[in-house]
Amino acid sequence: MTAFDPNRLDQLARRERGRLIANLVHRLGPHRLELAEDMVQEAVLAAISSWPYSGMPDKPAAWLARVAQNKAIDRLRREGREGLFEEDNDPREQTGVADNISDPRLSDPELKLIFLCCHPVLSEQDRLMLTLKIVSGFTASEIASIFLISESAAAQRLARAKRKLRLDEQQLLSGISRFEVKARLETVLKVIYLMFSAGYAPRFGDRLILKDVAFEALRLAEVIVADEETTTPEAHALVALLAFQSSRFNARMDEDGKLLLLKEQNRKLWDHKLTEKALCHMPLSQNGHALSRYHIEASIAAVHALAPTWKQTDWAAICALYNALEQVADSPVVQISYSVAEAFGGEPKAGLKRLKDIPEVEGYTPYYLAHAEIYRQLNNYMEAENMLEKARGCDASMVTADFLMGLTYS
């Protein structure tokens, strides 16, 4: 007997929502995003209303897809628009653009949905929230808990973002051209990177949801590289980076939920399957000329992942990589990590100078922790304790999406 796993329902509802919406949007056209979303929600409601009596169907995902599709057909029929829901009525054919060589537009429904949610008319945070909601199936209340805002604020923001998308209806209808795919890919990768940061950053929140968010980001990055229309060396670098970071997920906390620094982590708990996955994507990330921040951050993560012990970490290599990173994507956060790497590499004075050169990042715990660590190494215990005190005074709940924008890992 297979025991009933209650989480199966949650996971199913979450995982399937995005895929169901993607398939419906694929057939209805991107301007009907909200209809697709509504019908999928109705299918989920129908499931939770009838499954308690019928039991879960053998193929729950197929059940949900069938019900969502039937509901969409019913709705359009009532509106006298059933013609819009023909198998062969692909919106891209209405554009009159000849596509005799090969179709220049995205064909995978899920990819199309990701690119739709990362539309340039939206702000970065709106793209992230919309992707979480529509592609990844997180509820408004889960999204609220991810961004530490109220549920009604999250719902309002999502509604506003969808309204903005609708304004661009004509453009939505024509689909995304190959040129736009290229141009928008960078935005999509950034959203995935931010999604991962939101789930991975140590902070308050429902830990299970945050972990789901981080792993969902990794999954989306893999969706991007799996399709030849969207894969790039940069995207492979992002997969490698996220897989390296994810491999440490279970080692980051002790049994009481206290955060463990890299130095304190039991490296045996690192997930070697994920490390291997990351290592497979590293060579694929080198098939081009571009050197992105993802390449460099993945390389830094690789140095950590390949060090058998904390003591054997190759700090010279890490410092060289931070030196490259500050040229590609400099930020106070990069400088803070760089300074700590210098200190661990035996140059605490250089690290301290680096910290002194950036303006105080008020309220940011790592800023003070970096000072404390470096002062400790310089045997200045009074300053070290002083800085620890400031770190303790930081409000961990102020880690919001805006704040995560520049976050990097070390």
Binding site: W51, Y53, G55, M56, T139, S141
Partner: protein, 116 residues
């Protein structure tokens, strides 16, 4: 083996205003019970009734009249029915008591199905 019908009652507004997570938790209990009882060969099927008010057909002075059911005024309404198999009434009652419905709602009726 005898068959029994479980008639599950609930207050009309029982599930209103619940967060999706709370609602999901209730659903999980129900689905879990149904799956377990199906594995054990006890659960034979069931139907959820629509939550909206139904119709009542009555014969008044020889005429058939149709009314909306007086839903809102009722403390509890029939929400769904399930069929189980059990040795006898006592065994069926024990199964009924284990039903998550008795944790999340107040009452159910249990009737033996007349098999001839």
């Amino acid at each position: 083996m005898k068959s029994f019908a479980l008639l599950l009652n609930h207050a009309p507004d029982r599930y209103q205003g619940l967060s999706e997570a709370d609602y999901m938790d209730i659903i999980k209990d129900y689905v879990g019970w149904v799956e377990e009882m199906t594995e054990r060969g006890i659960y034979k099927g069931g139907h959820k009734l629509m939550d909206e008010a139904g119709k009542t057909v009555t014969r008044v002075n020889g005429n058939t009249e149709v009314h909306d059911s007086p839903f809102a005024e009722l403390a509890e309404v029939l929400g769904g029915l399930m069929i189980i198999e059990a040795e006898n009434y006592d065994a069926a009652l024990e199964i009924a008591k284990s039903h998550p419905h008795m944790k999340h709602n107040i009452s159910m009726d249990i009737r033996e199905i007349h098999d001839v």
